[in-house]
C-alpha cells in the first residue's frame, strides 16, 4: 500500500472504529471486539511505517487547503511515529483493561465510552501525524472536545464541575495563547509547515521571541505547565481507563509532544538560547511544586495526577535546554513515562474495582491480596523515580547528561530533588500495601483482563530499560 493510503488509514481506523462501535451498541461483545480489532489494526499500520521512517522516509499526505496556503497535511516523522506507536499500542492494552473495568463496575453508557475513546485516539494520532501547526491545532482541539464526554462520563454534579474546569482551562489556553501564537508565526514566517531547522530562525528575537515561546508553552495547556495544570486533577473524575490512557498518555503526551515539535520544527534547535532561558525555570518550578502537592495528596488518582504534572515538565525542561542529549532524554521520557504511568493508573483502577478503595490511607495490606497488581505498581513507581531496571532510568540518564552538557545546574538540581520527592510519595504506597496489616477482607485480584493489561505494561516498562533501541533510534534521528 502506498504511504498516502497508510496515513489515511491511521486516521480512518480509529474514526471508523468509533462509528462501528456506535453501530454495535446492542451487542456488547461484538462492540468490544471491534474496539480491540481497530486498536490492533492501527498499531500494525503504524508499525508497518516505522522501518521506512527510520530509513529517512517521510510519508506525507495533503488534503485540500483549509485556508489559502494552509493545507490540512499529514507527515510522519520520527517523533510523531514514536507518539503514534505509543498511543496505538497502549490503546490495545487499555482496551483489554477497559472491558474488565467497565463491566466490573457496571458503568453506564458503555457504547458512548468506547466510541469516544476511539475518537480520542483518532485525535491523538492526528496530533502525532500533523504536518503543520494548523493540522496539529485542529486535532489538538478535537482531542479536547472528544475527551470531554469521557471526563463527564458519570454525569453527576462532580463530573460536571470537573468537566467545566477541564474544558475551560484547555480551551482558554489554546484559544487565548496558542491560536494567536500560530497567527503570529504565520504572519512572521508565511508558513506553518513543520520544517527541520525551524521556521522562525532570524525572524524574531529577544523579548518578542521569548513572548512568542511563552504563548506556545502556556497555549499548549495539555503539557500542564503551571499554572495551566488544574485541568489534569479535575479530569480524574473520569473512569480510570480514561485517566490511564488519555490523561497519562494520549492527551498529556499530545501536549508535551506538541511542545517538543514546536521547539524542534518551529523555533529550531539553533534558534538561540536566550529566548528559552526562562522556560527551564517554569518547568523546574512545576516539577518541584507538583511533586510537593502529590506528596500531600491522599486520593490515589490525585496523587498520580500531580505526579503526571511533574513528569510532564521533565519533558518540557529537557526540550528547553536545547542540547542534543537532553532532547533525546525528552523524547525517551515521553515513551518511558507513558508505560510507567499507565501501569500505575491501571493498578489504581484495579484496586478500585476489586476493593473499592480510592485513598492511599486505605491501602494497608491490600498488596498481599493483590500481589500482581502491586508488583506492577512497584515497577511503575521505580520508573517514575528513575531507578533501574525501569525505563524511567534511561530517559533520566539522558536528561542529566544533557543538563551537565549545558552546564545548567538548576536543571540538574531539580531533577535530583524531584527524584527524592518521587521516591517520597511512591514508595510509601508500596510499603503500605505489602507490609502493613490491613483489615481482614476477602477480595482478591481484579478481573483477569485488567490484571493481564497491567502486567503487560509493567513488563513493557522493564523491556524498555533493556531494549530502548527503537525509541533511541527515533530520538537520535531527530538531531
Amino acid at each position: 500500500m502506498s504511504y498516502e493510503t497508510l496515513l489515511a488509514l491511521c486516521l480512518a481506523i480509529p474514526a471508523g472504529g468509533a462509528a462501528l462501535v456506535a453501530l454495535c451498541h446492542r451487542w456488547p461483545n461484538l462492540r468490544e471486539a471491534v474496539s480491540l480489532a481497530s486498536a490492533a489494526a492501527l498499531f500494525l499500520v503504524v508499525l508497518s511505517l516505522s522501518d521506512d521512517v527510520l530509513q529517512g522516509a517521510r510519508p506525507a499526505l495533503r488534503f485540500g487547503e483549509m485556508l489559502p496556503g494552509l493545507a490540512i497535511a499529514l507527515e510522519l516523522e520520527p517523533l510523531g511515529l514514536l507518539f503514534a506507536l505509543i498511543a496505538s499500542g497502549l490503546w490495545f492494552v487499555s482496551g483489554v483493561y477497559s472491558i474488565g473495568y467497565m463491566r466490573g463496575n457496571d458503568e453506564a453508557h458503555q457504547t458512548r465510552f468506547f466510541a469516544c475513546f476511539a475518537l480520542a485516539i483518532a485525535g491523538a494520532v492526528g496530533v502525532a501525524l500533523a504536518g503543520n501547526l494548523l493540522t496539529l491545532y485542529l486535532f489538538y482541539e478535537a482531542l479536547t472536545l472528544v475527551t470531554y464526554p469521557l471526563v463527564t462520563h458519570h454525569g453527576d454534579a462532580e463530573a460536571r464541575r470537573g468537566g467545566r474546569t477541564y474544558l475551560a482551562l484547555l480551551l482558554l489556553s489554546s484559544m487565548l495563547f496558542l491560536l494567536p501564537a500560530m497567527a503570529i508565526t504565520w504572519w512572521l514566517g508565511g508558513t506553518l509547515d513543520f520544517t527541520p531547522g525551524g521556521i522562525l530562525g532570524g525572524k524574531i528575537s529577544g523579548g518578542a521571541a521569548a513572548g512568542l515561546l511563552a504563548l506556545y508553552a502556556f497555549g499548549i495547556g495539555k503539557a500542564a505547565l503551571m499554572p495551566i495544570h488544574r485541568w489534569l486533577p479535575a479530569a480524574m473524575v473520569a473512569p480510570t481507563p480514561v485517566s490511564a490512557l488519555l490523561h497519562a498518555v494520549a492527551v498529556v503526551k499530545a501536549g508535551v509532544f506538541s511542545i517538543v515539535k514546536v521547539v524542534v520544527y518551529v523555533f529550531g534547535l539553533d534558534f538561540g538560547a536566550e529566548a528559552f532561558a526562562w522556560l527551564p525555570w517554569v518547568a523546574g518550578f512545576t516539577i518541584v511544586a507538583a511533586s510537593i502537592v502529590a506528596l500531600r495528596a491522599d486520593n490515589l488518582k490525585r496523587r498520580l495526577a500531580y505526579s503526571t504534572v511533574s513528569q510532564l515538565s521533565y519533558v518540557v525542561l529537557a526540550a528547553a535546554l536545547l542540547t542534543p542529549l537532553s532532547l533525546v532524554g525528552a523524547v525517551l521520557h515521553i515513551a518511558a513515562h507513558a508505560f510507567g504511568k499507565i501501569t500505575l493508573f491501571f493498578a489504581a483502577g484495579a484496586v478500585y474495582t476489586a476493593a473499592h478503595k480510592t485513598e492511599v490511607s486505605q491501602l494497608d495490606g491490600v498488596g498481599r491480596r493483590m500481589p500482581w497488581t502491586f508488583a506492577a505498581f512497584g515497577i511503575g513507581a521505580l520508573s517514575m523515580i528513575g531507578l533501574p531496571p525501569a525505563a524511567g532510568f534511561v530517559s533520566k540518564w539522558y536528561m542529566i547528561s544533557g543538563a551537565l552538557a549545558a552546564e545548567h545546574w538548576m536543571a540538574l538540581g531539580v531533577i535530583v530533588a524531584s527524584t527524592l520527592l518521587n521516591a517520597g510519595y511512591f514508595l510509601p504506597i508500596v510499603y503500605r500495601a505489602f507490609f502493613k496489616e490491613g483489615n481482614a477482607e476477602t477480595h482478591g485480584e481484579a478481573p483477569l483482563s485488567m490484571v493481564a493489561a497491567l502486567v503487560t505494561t509493567a513488563a513493557l516498562t522493564i523491556v524498555m530499560f533493556f531494549w530502548a533501541d527503537l525509541p533511541l533510534a527515533l530520538a537520535r534521528s531527530l538531531l
Partner: protein, 494 residues
C-alpha cells in the same frame, strides 16, 4: 436567457408571492416557496459563476441604460451575498412545511409563504440592485414582510417584538432614505456607481458628511450594530422557528452588505478611514458588541434569546473587520457573513425541532435537559453548530476568527487580538450552558414527547449543520469568494 439571470433572481420570488395568494392553499404555497428558493439558489450560483468569468454584470431594468434607469449590478461581493441568502432560503424552505404546520393556524399558511417569498425577494433585491432608492424599496419590502412573519410567532410577545422592530426598522429605513436624499441633492443621481464618481468631485462636504451619518445610523439600526440592536433579541426569540432561522441567517447580513457598499464603493474610503474616526468608531462599537452582548448571552435564560444575543455579538465580529479595514480583516468580515449565516441558521432550525417536540412556546435552558437522550441527532447538531459559533478549528467559525486575528496582527492591534480570542471564550461559556443542559442536565421538566423531529425538519437542519463543518474545511468557495470581494472593495477605490 443567461443575460436575464439578474432579473430572474428577484422576479421569481416576487412572482411567486401573488401566485401563492391567488391559489390560496398552504400546500401549494409551500411547494412554490420551496421551488422558488431552489431556483433562486441555482440562479445565484449561475450568477456567481458568470461573475467569476466576466467580472461585473450590469443589467438595465426596462432596457433604460444606467444611470437613468435602474441598474442591477452583480459583482464579486453581491454574488457572494446572493449565494448566501438563497442558500439559506433553499435549506429553510423545505423545513417550513412541518414547522409552520405546527406553529401557525392552517388558514394563514398560504399568507405565510407569500410573505416569505416577498421577504426573500426583498433581501435578494437589496443585494442585486445598483440603485440607492431601489435599495430602499427592497429594504422596506423585506422589512415589512419580516415584521409580518415575526408577528405570526406563537406567543403574544411576538406582537410586541414585531412592533418594536417595526418602529426601529422604519426609523432605520427613513434615516437611510434621508441620507440618500442628501446625496441625491448633491450629485443628482441615484445610481450607486455613478454617485460614487460624482461624489469625488463634490467640493462642499458637509451635506455628504450628514448623509454618511444618516446612512450609517439607518443601516446600523437594520444590521443591529451595537448599541442599535434593541429590537433584535425579542424579534429572533419570539418569531416562528423557521422565521428565526431565516431572518437570523440573512436579515442583518444583507444590511451589512449595503453598509459595505456605501463605505467602500460610494464614499471615498481613503478620507473616510483616514480623516474621520471611522475606524475607531467601528472598532469600539464592535468590541462593545462582542463583549457586552456575549456576556448578556451567558446570563440569559431563554435559549432563543441567548442565541439572539450571540447574534449581536457575532455582528460585532463582522463590523470589526470592516473597521480594521485591511485585506485580511475584510475577508474575515465578508466570509463571516456566510459562516455566521449557516451557523446561526443551523442553530435556530435545530431549536425549531426541539420546540416542536417539547410543545412549549418558550424554551428555557432547563427545558433542554436530557436532550442528548431524547433527540440525540438534534443535540449533536447543536453541539457542532455551537462549536462553530465558538470558532473551534474544523468549523466555519474558525476561518473567520483566523482572518480577523491575522488582520488585527497585521495592523499591530495586539489588544484587539486578545479581545477577539477572549470573546470566543465567552462564547464557550454560553454555548456550554446549552451543551451541559442537553447532556448533563438533571431530569428537570418531563418532556412532552420523545424522539427526533420529523424528517422534513431534521434533514434541512442537519444539512445546515453539515455546512458549518463543510465551510470549516473546504473554503475554496467561502474564503475564495470573500477574498475576491474584499479585493474588489479595496481596489475599486484607492
Amino acid at each position: 436567457m443567461l443575460e436575464q439571470l439578474p432579473a430572474l433572481q428577484v422576479v421569481l420570488p416576487l412572482l411567486a408571492a401573488p401566485l401563492i395568494v391567488l391559489v390560496g392553499r398552504g400546500g401549494f404555497g409551500w411547494a412554490a416557496a420551496t421551488a422558488v428558493s431552489w431556483a433562486c439558489l441555482a440562479v445565484a450560483i449561475g450568477l456567481a459563476l458568470r461573475v467569476a468569468e466576466v467580472g461585473v454584470i450590469s443589467y438595465a431594468l426596462g432596457s433604460w441604460p444606467p444611470p437613468w434607469g435602474i441598474e442591477y449590478r452583480v459583482d464579486a461581493l453581491s454574488a457572494f451575498v446572493l449565494v448566501l441568502v438563497s442558500l439559506v432560503a433553499a435549506i429553510a424552505a423545505p423545513y417550513a412545511r412541518r414547522s409552520v404546520a405546527a406553529e401557525i393556524e392552517r388558514d394563514r399558511h398560504y399568507l405565510f409563504y407569500a410573505m416569505y417569498c416577498l421577504c426573500l425577494a426583498g433581501l435578494l433585491g437589496m443585494v442585486i440592485t445598483g440603485d440607492a432608492f431601489n435599495l430602499f424599496v427592497f429594504l422596506e419590502i423585506s422589512s415589512l414582510a419580516t415584521y409580518v412573519l415575526i408577528a405570526l410567532g406563537p406567543q403574544r410577545k411576538a406582537l410586541v417584538a414585531s412592533f418594536q422592530y417595526l418602529l426601529l426598522g422604519t426609523v432605520g429605513a427613513t434615516f437611510y432614505v434621508i441620507g440618500v436624499g442628501l446625496l441625491y441633492l448633491k450629485t443628482g443621481t441615484l445610481n450607486l456607481a455613478d454617485m460614487a464618481e460624482r461624489l469625488r468631485a463634490v467640493e462642499e462636504l458637509r451635506p455628504v458628511l450628514a448623509a454618511l451619518a444618516f446612512i450609517t445610523v439607518g443601516l446600523g439600526l437594520k444590521l443591529a450594530l451595537f448599541p442599535l440592536h434593541a429590537w433584535l433579541p425579542n424579534a429572533y426569540a419570539y418569531s416562528p422557528s423557521m422565521v428565526s432561522a431565516f431572518v437570523a441567517a440573512t436579515g442583518t447580513k444583507v444590511s451589512i452588505y449595503a453598509l459595505l457598499r456605501y463605505y467602500f464603493t460610494v464614499f471615498d474610503p481613503a478620507p473616510l478611514f483616514e480623516t474621520l474616526p471611522t475606524r475607531e468608531l467601528f472598532i469600539a462599537l464592535s468590541v462593545a458588541a462582542m463583549v457586552i452582548a456575549s456576556l448578556v448571552a451567558v446570563f440569559e435564560r431563554d435559549v432563543k434569546r441567548l442565541f439572539a444575543y450571540s447574534s449581536v455579538a457575532q455582528v460585532g465580529y463582522i463590523t470589526l473587520g470592516l473597521g480594521v479595514d485591511n485585506l485580511d480583516s475584510l475577508t474575515g468580515s465578508i466570509v463571516h457573513l456566510l459562516n455566521h449565516g449557516v451557523t446561526k441558521g443551523a442553530i435556530f432550525l435545530l431549536l425549531g425541532g426541539v420546540a416542536l417536540k417539547s410543545g412549549a412556546v418558550s424554551m428555557s435552558i432547563g427545558s433542554l435537559s436530557g436532550l442528548g437522550r431524547r433527540m440525540p441527532l438534534t443535540a449533536f447538531g447543536l453541539v457542532i453548530a455551537g462549536l462553530s459559533l465558538i470558532g473551534i478549528p474544523g468549523t466555519a467559525g474558525f476561518i473567520t476568527k483566523w482572518y480577523l486575528i491575522v488582520g488585527a496582527i497585521e495592523f499591530g492591534l495586539w489588544w484587539l487580538v486578545a479581545v477577539i480570542v477572549a470573546t470566543s471564550l465567552i462564547a464557550v461559556a454560553y454555548v456550554w450552558r446549552v451543551v451541559e443542559a442537553a447532556y448533563l442536565g438533571e431530569g428537570g421538566e418531563a418532556p412532552a414527547k420523545t424522539g427526533e423531529a420529523p424528517l422534513g425538519m431534521l434533514v434541512p437542519a442537519l444539512a445546515m449543520t453539515a455546512l458549518c463543518v463543510y465551510f470549516g474545511f473546504d473554503t475554496s468557495f467561502s474564503v475564495g469568494g470573500a477574498r475576491e470581494a474584499a479585493e474588489l472593495l479595496l481596489r475599486g477605490t484607492r
